[in-house]
């Protein structure tokens, strides 16, 4: 009993922040997405906001775009991170410097990176100028649209650049814990290098890779500032669309903004639950 009270006391600051701020905010968002907003004279909760966004073609396009951005950048970042981690766990001259380079961009804010991408890759950016100076293109319109483009290449580029080191670091920590002995065993049991990677190392790294990738996906899916800077005018990424609806001069669109926020949060939660379930199964298997 005393133990329990003690634990509660220690947890209180975290619980107050989580419960008081986060859950209250989430609750208000939910209420308003159900069009319960007494200040505007809305006192009868209904699902009209959800119905409205689901029937808007713009919303579905934005949802698809956000899923595309999150899935593509997560997959590319995870694959590259896996390769990087496998190289970086070996000792070679200059390894410390490469590790430093890989970790450096963890400290750079997303928005700064986004503006950097804009400077480099936009149709009037540095690479376009270089191409023009080299006579490869005759004007900005000839440079491929890599930013504010319909395929969100600029956004994906930024997320890959930014999240790759995060996944790499988690994988490196995993690799360090695992050691190389299981691989040595596999080799002595007749597995080739590739088989050892495919049937021993990769399955053993999967829990770490899945949880890191899940976090990256949820972030890339829900973050707002990067698609705002690097995204096309239409379709907009879901968080941008939600923000736009919320800041609209017509207050009646606010419930729709809230409904979009709830959808974003739900998809993120669903994904994390999926990852947690996979990890639990992995842990049960390992026991």
């Amino acid at each position: 009993m005393t133990d329990r009270r003690h634990i509660l006391l220690l947890l209180a600051p975290a619980l107050i922040v989580l419960g008081g701020l986060f859950l209250t905010g989430l609750g208000l968002t939910l209420l308003r997405s159900f069009r319960y907003f007494p200040a505007l004279g809305l006192t009868q909760p209904d699902l009209a906001a959800y119905a409205a966004i689901l029937t808007t073609p713009g919303f579905l396009k934005s949802l698809a775009l956000s899923l595309w951005i999150a899935a593509t950048s997560t997959l590319i970042a995870a694959a590259l991170a896996l390769g990087a981690a496998l190289v970086l766990r070996q000792t070679f001259p200059g390894r410390a410097f490469v590790s430093f380079l890989v970790q450096l961009n963890l400290t750079i804010p997303h928005i700064v990176g986004a503006i950097g991408i804009l400077y480099l890759f936009s149709q009037s950016g540095s690479f376009a100028r270089l191409a023009y100076a080299a006579g490869l293109i005759s004007g900005p319109q000839d440079f491929p649209a890599l930013t504010q483009d319909p395929f969100a290449i600029g956004i994906i580029l930024l997320y890959v650049w930014k999240e790759l080191p995060f996944i790499t670091l988690i994988l490196l920590a995993n690799l360090q814990t695992l050691g190389e002995d299981h691989e040595a065993v596999a080799r002595s049991l007749g597995a080739s290098r590739w088989q050892t990677f495919r049937h021993v190392l990769l399955p053993m790294l999967m829990p770490g890779l899945a949880s890191a990738s899940g976090l990256v996906f949820a972030f890339a899916f829900g973050a707002y500032e990067v698609p705002l800077v690097l995204g096309a005018y239409s379709p907009k990424a879901l968080p941008v669309l939600a923000w736009q609806a919320w800041t609209d001069t017509d207050l009646a669109t606010r419930p729709e903004a809230m409904a979009m926020a709830v959808v974003i949060a739900l998809i993120g939660l669903l994904l994390l639950a999926l990852v947690a379930r996979t990890l639990n199964r992995g842990e049960r298997d390992a026991r």
Partner: protein, 346 residues
């Protein structure tokens, strides 16, 4: 089956001047059960990793059945290694672990399943195939690891300290199992161990490594009866070393003339006798010694003696030791057949 021959095998780890392994020559007979013995840092694990192909030698050759395997990838050598730690794959079941090597060879699933079932019964794990490694006891994990290597019928099986992670009560069982599987399969087996009693109890041939060099190789008894050097004798529990000279079947030292067994080289040397070979009472090569101390060790007692200014140690059963009083004189004999002369330490 194939004989394993190491010749001039040398390994240096980066930056160190002292070789971890220095020009090792060792022949392991086909179908033998050999123990590679040595204290930690003696190069025994390095030797094993070189044979398995996990590290590359700086010089020398490794031949298996007449062909060099020195430059082959680990998976192409026909050498399977069982590590000190079972290192089972946590994402696979026990059956999945045991069948791993066959699956890598691309065998059909039904053939793998029947081989695995047979192998599990041989290591007494029948019915545990669906378990996860984490659900097994330490002994069961070790047996799974053994089964995982044996199922491949390798030309050479390497076992790294197979008993040291087990409870004492399980060690006998595992030792028995290793001997049993070895005589059933006839696979050339090399066991690495730091424990000399384990080596002699398990193997029919022992190779002792000291400081990266082969100190002695031969049947287990020779290490007790005819150690090659003082270091070998010490490693096997030798404590009595008396400097002197052997001439015409007699050893002259501070203890006076002592009769030697036949076949001992003449010249200056160190007389040695195992502490358990000293006898109390009358007999050949008699001495009078003063009892300096009696220490009860459980199944034996250690008697510290002083004779002619030479310290000797005897091990005897505790009942016999109960008559010995500290400070009194006692009659001791050094049976000639238990004497051996080592070359003088340089």
């Amino acid at each position: 089956m194939a004989a394993l021959t190491l010749s001039g095998l040398t390994k240096r780890y980066g930056g160190t001047s002292q070789a971890a392994l220095h020009r090792l020559d060792l022949s392991i007979a086909s179908g033998s059960l050999t123990a590679l013995l040595g204290p930690s840092g003696s190069g025994k694990t390095t030797t094993m990793k070189l044979i398995a192909g996990l590290i590359a030698p700086d010089a020398g050759d490794i031949r298996l059945g007449g062909r060099s395997i020195r430059d082959l990838a680990p998976e192409r050598r026909g050498v399977a290694m069982v590590f000190q730690n079972p290192l089972l794959f946590p994402h696979l079941t026990v059956a999945g672990n045991v069948g791993f090597g066959l699956r890598m060879r691309g065998l059909p699933a039904d053939r793998i399943a029947s081989s695995v079932a047979l192998m599990l019964s041989r290591v007494r794990l029948t019915g545990l195939g669906d378990r996860r490694p984490g659900q097994l006891s330490g002994g069961q994990q070790q047996r799974t690891a053994l089964a995982r290597a044996l199922i491949l019928r390798p030309d050479v099986l390497l076992l790294d300290e197979p008993l040291s992670n087990l409870d004492p009560s399980l060690r006998d069982e595992m030792r028995q199992l290793i001997r049993e599987l070895h005589s059933e399969t006839g696979i050339t087996t090399l066991v690495v161990t730091h424990d000399q009693t384990e080596a002699v109890a398990l193997a029919d041939h022992v190779a002792l490594l000291l400081d990266g060099r082969l100190a002695q190789a031969g049947p287990p008894e020779t290490f007790y009866q005819r150690p090659a050097t003082q270091a070998v004798a010490r490693f096997f529990g030798g404590v009595n070393f008396i400097p002197g000279t052997a001439r015409a079947g007699v050893f002259d030292s501070a203890l006076g003339p002592l009769r030697l067994p036949a076949g001992i080289a003449e010249g200056a040397g160190l007389l040695t006798i195992r502490p358990e070979a000293l006898r109390f009472g009358p007999g050949p090569n008699p001495l009078i010694a003063r009892v300096e101390g009696v220490t009860f060790l459980g199944t034996q007692s250690r008697i510290d003696l002083l004779a002619g200014g030479v310290r000797l140690q005897a091990l005897t059963d505790p009942d016999a030791a109960s008559d010995l009083v500290r400070g009194s004189d006692v009659a001791v004999t050094l049976p000639p057949q238990a004497l051996w002369v080592l070359p003088s330490a340089p």
